[in-house]
Symmetry: C2
Subunit: 348 residues, 2 copies
């Protein structure tokens, strides 16, 4: 029992030219399901990584930054009704019973969270993501998009937004915090807005003079390009919290001393190589080095509400479904100007 919907699927590992329009099956509504007409879907770097991944299933429909309108709800659903503006992010199922799920951290479900595509769901099917006309998702994993947020702006927040909001909240960024954001790309430009609206003094640590003005427009109070040891020395012990949105290798022995005593250096971009540093780099400040992995459903809703209230939105470039292969290549070449969003009405 299922419904056919149009979708864009990658057919061959690592081959962006293998994307083609196809038809996939969505399950009929269970009592706790929400059916969604997808209007927009963002493209995240991790979509690209999944298409390149050795262990992926093909054909694969990527996409985990989904926004749209409710078309129907199951018999037990009380929190959504047809026409509601909604979003779906990185995951669509979890056990709901383990300590992590009960703590609202479904991403760490002890029985394995079910991600929105290329993941085995509880009925044994492999999930398919947001590059499609419609999706059916258990109500717990559907987010309300506030009226103040345009649907196309909400889409990237479902991954890039929660990925940056979660660590800022987890480490209590607020008034009087001194925060550095490394990198002003798809993640960084949203992180700057969140941190600034939380009341922090925000410094962007960037690589290019061309982004200085944009950093300030997003709310940064300072923009620094660190090159010499003296540049680093001038900011030693300055930051309560550094969020690293750049996946490239970097000299942590230079960056870690920028953290204030007992402060935090947090990765949200994941380099493929091991990170390495000398412990003497953190012996004088007891800095904590950590990583952050998206965020739970309750916090994702709080993030959307905070963004709506504070006029936070990603800078997006809208593309049609046929532009996806080129967009993937541009992301790999760092040519994306913040974030691509696919207009799903172009799926024919």
């Amino acid at each position: 029992m299922s419904q056919s919907v149009k979708a864009l699927a990658a057919n061959t590992k690592g081959d962006f030219a293998s994307f083609n329009q196809t038809v996939i099956q969505r399950r009929n509504l269970r009592p706790d399901d929400v059916a969604i007409d997808i209007k927009y879907c963002g493209i995240c770097h991790s979509d690209v990584s999944m298409v390149q991944w050795q262990g992926a299933h093909f054909p694969m429909v990527p996409g985990h930054e989904i926004s749209g309108l409710v078309s129907a709800v199951g018999s037990n659903v009380t929190n959504f009704k047809p026409g509601d503006r909604v979003g779906v992010g990185c995951f669509v199922n979890s056990c709901g019973k383990c300590a992590a799920c009960k703590a609202g951290q479904e991403q760490f479900c002890e029985h394995g969270v079910v991600v929105v595509f290329d993941s085995e769901d509880d009925d044994g099917t492999i999930t398919q993501g947001g590059y499609s006309q419609a999706i059916v998702v258990k109500d717990h994993f559907v987010l309300h998009i506030p009226d103040e947020l345009a649907l196309q702006d909400a889409a990237p927040l479902l991954c890039a937004g929660i990925t940056t909001y979660n660590p800022l909240k987890r480490f209590n960024v607020g008034k009087n915090s001194h925060v550095a954001i490394i990198g002003l790309g798809g993640l960084g430009h949203i992180a700057v807005q969140f941190a600034a609206k939380m009341g922090a003094q925000v410094t962007v640590l960037g690589h290019s003079e061309s982004k200085r003005n944009e950093a300030q427009q997003f709310g940064a109070t300072d923009y620094q390009i660190l090159k010499s040891p003296a540049d680093f020395q001038a900011l030693a012990g300055h930051f309560d919290f550094i969020l690293n949105t750049v996946a490239a290798d970097m000299d942590l022995n230079s960056y870690l001393p920028l953290v204030k005593s007992n402060g935090v250096f947090c990765y949200v971009g994941i380099p493929s190589n091991d990170i390495h540093f000398n412990l003497f780099s953190i012996f004088g400040n007891q800095a904590k080095v950590t990583a952050s992995n998206v965020g739970g459903i309750q916090m994702t809703q709080a993030m959307l509400d905070f963004a709506a209230k504070n006029d936070i939105k990603p800078q997006i470039e809208m593309i049609g479904i046929d532009d996806v292969p080129q967009a993937y290549q541009n992301i790999l070449d760092s040519k994306v100007h913040y974030r691509y969003v696919i207009d799903m009405s172009t799926l024919k």
Copy 2:
């Protein structure tokens, strides 16, 4: 204006045979000074490292685990009187005015903490440590040793004790905590006692079957020798807090997944090589990797009081002053059975 006291000094970098008995100067009492007759001084691995350090000043009197009796106090000192049982640990001066000092974290003084030996004090002299008959220290940096603690047992607590107590407190180890201590040496055997008396379930991760019984005597509820991937898998996500007391290189990609969601992996032993790990090792648990650096004066006093109240003491091997060169070599060769303490009455 100064007083001559006997001491043991190292005269040549890296040459333990260069230790000889000599006479050094201690300053006359300032109004806020405490003069101490040293009874015992522990030997810490970092003493050995300092004698080997390229940047050290010679002759050098090491020693930062000092216990003894007050012999005299300056005119403004109200907290100590002659005859009091006291200790001195890693540092003897700081600015007292910066944010770190005001927060009771003198070790992070923004103007540079003055350590007990081989450090420039505010009068321009180079400090000399505890392998001597007497020392003069500003009252703020002198600790009370509770009556329940023998002076020789208190000595190693001034460094090894606070080094392990501070991170356990900083990360809120207590009842219901699952703690792992890696290594059962000079630091580890004290850490196990603290964690157990704080109410935690303590697992020692050791290398040798021979230490299993001792681990249990110190209060560990479990002892594990991890070798195979299956050994690590069996403890995945098990620990709120892992304290690594071993300075040797280790495979962090195996150890970090043992941490529970949002838990901590903390170094107190400092490897000379960079540490390295893949961020995917902490992407599933958001573990924080950090280091801990002794602890402030207020917490050091709390540590001594906690040790006294809970009958916590180091396992020590008492030696005479002439045994120091051999003790240094034994420490390098990992032949010390927990901790050496020098009986300072052997200094002639």
